[in-house]
């Protein structure tokens, strides 16, 4: 198989994977953790503990708050101190469960041994139930509850499970490290998900700049001998790891506007999610840990780390353990430089989907001075959704919602390629994100009105 890639747009930022050689270290436990109730897409979880309750590692502390929601488990053992709002990464108050750490006592049902369990349970429903009970969510960024994604709606059949090992965001190395250090677990996780989806084929997509990971995964696939799993080499190109782009690259199919991957027979899961699925199903271990990268531009090697962290640890604790916030850092970002969010509040805690603490220098984050658009079309060439950002930007300024919808502002995946490629420093992404929000509002209102009208007609 040749090197695959998606069919339109994309940019080639320097990959800056400085932390690639840093083996995963276990982050020590802080004195207190704050576990967010909104660390997945969908409805926030409902806390089921009260101040004063004692919890062990893996005790359920919150239940799903809706159909699209997930369980949350205690990442530590100790006493619940409070169930109260606390500021999240963006500074908005979110319900958190505060737990004072005492010792490190795990729920006895969790298998903490290192032995690899390769036997796949026969019962699909059983696998799915364990994934749900362990609160597994997608770790590729969107944190969509995995059990929902693995239950295609009736009439839809999954033809291909795509494991996303592209890690196309610069700087991030956590997926790379788990592919090197725990390849077999990932492959077993993939086999489990294949089983749930009814035995479709599985492609593990990895970008060409990680040859070691490709070799490691190939070896694991060969050693374990599950049928229908292959490793595909993808060209290095951002945003290869975007769900729609990855489906295009691997299956040469495109998901229609407003559609879901399953419409074209695809289910995409991150390699990290696959590992979480393995731990949930084979080891009964809930999703309470994940790997994050601490890195930055021009940071000395001793300040770069890949940490196995407990969810709920404050970012300030991570930074402190990693050697403190470097002086050169002008901006701290949670996640990658392209799609990550600037951290305004280091007291915010890590969540299931945390992937990196990234320090960027003044030079790396400086915005270009905005000048006039000369219609060079670089943004349109870079857009992986085939949109015309310059046009959307103009329409947004003219507040022409109808034309924005016609020109597919709602299809924007907010990857930032337009902003990255614009030589005039125009804040395309900022404006298009606003436009997308407004258009989505119109679309939703229209759908709601149509639904109401249909119901009225029924009566």
């Amino acid at each position: 198989m040749g090197k695959l890639t998606f069919s339109m747009g994309g940019v080639h930022p320097h990959d800056s994977k400085y932390a690639r050689e840093c083996a995963i270290e276990e982050l020590p436990l802080p004195k207190t953790v704050w576990v967010s109730m909104a660390q997945h897409l969908g409805a926030p979880a409902k806390p089921v503990v009260a101040p004063g309750d004692t919890v062990k590692v893996g005790t359920v502390i919150a239940e799903p708050g809706g159909f699209i929601s997930a369980f949350v488990h205690s990442p530590v053992s100790g006493t619940v101190k409070a169930v109260a709002p606390r500021k999240d990464l963006a500074g908005n108050p979110v319900m958190h469960v505060e737990i004072a750490v005492e010792g490190d006592e795990w729920e006895p049902s969790i298998d903490r041994s290192k032995t690899l369990v390769t036997a796949i349970p026969d019962d699909k429903a059983e696998i799915l139930a364990r994934i749900k009970a362990c609160g597994v969510v997608g770790l590729g960024g969107a944190t969509f509850p995995t059990h929902v994604k693995l239950s295609p709606p009736p009439g839809k059949v999954a033809e291909c499970l795509i494991l996303n090992g592209t890690e196309c965001e610069p700087y991030l190395t956590s997926d790379y490290r788990i592919m090197l250090e725990r390849p077999k677990e990932i492959v077993v996780g993939a086999a489990l998900m294949q089983k749930v989806l009814g035995g479709c084929r599985c492609v593990i997509g990895i970008e060409e700049n990680k040859p070691e990971a490709i070799a490691s995964m190939r070896e694991a696939v060969a050693a374990l001998g599950f049928p229908g799993i292959e490793v595909a080499t993808l060209r290095k190109r951002y945003p290869q790891g975007g769900e729609k782009q990855l489906i295009d690259a691997v299956m040469h199919r495109q998901v229609g506007s407003g559609g879901l991957p399953i419409d074209v027979g695809a289910v995409v899961q991150n390699v990290g999610t696959s590992l979480a699925v393995y731990e949930a199903v084979q080891k009964n271990k809930p999703l309470i840990t994940n790997v994050l990268t601490v890195t930055g531009d021009h940071l000395p090697g001793n300040l770069q780390h890949n940490y196995l962290f407990r969810i709920g640890v404050p970012l300030s604790f991570v930074a402190e353990q990693a050697g403190g916030v470097p002086e050169s850092a002008a901006k701290i970002i949670s996640g990658g430089p392209m799609m990550g969010k600037a951290v305004s509040n280091l007291d915010a805690t890590t969540v299931k989907g945390s992937s990196a603490v990234l320090y960027l220098s003044e030079k790396a984050t400086r915005r270009r001075r905005e000048t006039a658009c000369i219609r060079c079309g670089k943004c349109a060439d870079a857009c992986p959704m085939g949109l015309e950002p310059f046009l959307l930007n103009r329409l947004y300024k003219a507040a022409d919602l109808e034309a924005l919808e016609k020109n597919a502002a709602q299809d924007c995946i907010e990857c930032g390629c337009c902003l990255y490629s614009c030589p005039a420093g125009i804040p395309l992404l900022d404006n298009i994100r606003q436009a997308k929000g407004q258009v989505m509002g119109v679309i939703r209102a229209r759908a709601a009105a149509a639904k109401a009208a249909a119901e009225a007609a029924k009566k």
Partner: protein, 302 residues
């Protein structure tokens, strides 16, 4: 040579005539009949096309005014009562008077009152900033200071005060069109009754956090203590979600609330005299003492 000239003239004349005929026909065919009153009403309107009335512009407003059976649902905030009376007379209808309003900024989180806890480095737009995070101060409800309201104002009535970082309303220029109210993602700006001689009392804060949290974020925050509501004799003040609100329809401008507010969140403007807080507080205390005495007497009598 002569023939060429004659031919040229002839051909061009015929062509011109033909095109004129086509134009004439098209104009006849596609003429839109419009009620002449629409034009008349539109001429009476200020012509700012600001959209403050909720219509796409003055023409749309006029169109709707002519078609509707009464004018109750429509109001031109820029022209005010004067223009509405004119419109009503053109259409042969009557319209009730409305109190003049203007935009009031309900945030007093100046740089001094509300320290910055991080540095915002993104696009200078409140809407973009609000979509990204809670802002560069600890108050997630307050003014973001990027001036979307200033940009939205078509009358030049708003400006950013560089010292406080807050928008300032020029009362002489504000027409209460409401463009800034719509532009503000934090819903800080409110259209309030202008008040007699411009005098009015209002709570300059929208922070819904509990007292200690709000106070920590901003020295001038409303902490929802309810002192003002207890003091008010006119029932004009309500406290919901830890924020007080003064109903301008009930407020009698006695300024007692302003005097008792512990954080100075209540503002009185355009009063001829400066507020003597101690005198007002004494007045309240005296009244309370009297009331207590009267109650005691009543209890003794009863």
């Amino acid at each position: 040579m002569t023939q060429t000239i004659i031919w040229t003239v002839a051909i061009l004349s015929v062509l011109g005539l033909l095109l004129a005929l086509i134009l004439f026909w098209v104009a006849r065919k596609f003429r839109v009949e419009e009620d002449p009153r629409i034009d008349a009403v539109e001429k009476a309107l200020p012509g700012a096309n600001c959209g403050g009335c909720g219509f796409a512009g003055c023409h749309a407003f006029a169109d709707a005014a002519v078609k509707a059976s009464d004018l109750d649902a429509q109001y031109c905030p820029v022209g005010g009562d004067e223009v509405m009376q004119k419109v009503a007379s053109i259409l042969g209808r009557t319209v009730a008077k409305k109190a003049p309003q203007l935009a009031v900024v309900r945030c007093n989180g100046s740089c001094a009152n509300r320290p910055r806890i991080n540095e915002y480095d993104g696009l200078r737009s409140c809407r973009v900033k609000a979509a990204l995070y809670s802002g560069d101060t600890a108050c997630p409800y307050g003014c973001l200071g990027c001036g979307d309201c200033v940009a939205a104002c078509k009358f030049g009535a708003l400006s950013m005060d560089p010292e406080t970082g807050l928008p300032v309303v020029d009362e002489a220029k504000c027409t209460a069109c409401g463009a800034c109210v719509k532009a503000c993602p934090k819903h800080i700006i409110e259209l309030r009754a202008k008040g007699p001689r411009g005098m009015r009392e209002y709570v300059s804060c929208v922070n819904k956090d509990k007292g200690p949290v709000a106070k920590k974020a901003c020295a001038a925050a409303c902490i929802g203590c309810g002192l003002c509501a207890k003091t008010c004799q006119h029932g004009a003040i309500t406290v919901t979600d830890n924020v007080a609100y003064i109903d301008p329809a009930k407020c009698k401008l006695c300024r007692e609330c302003e005097a008792v507010c512990p954080t100075g969140a209540i503002h009185g403007v355009n009063f001829p005299k400066e507020l003597d807080k101690d005198a007002v507080k004494k007045r309240i205390a005296d009244r309370k003492a009297k009331a207590a005495e009267a109650e005691k007497k009543e209890a003794a009598n009863g």
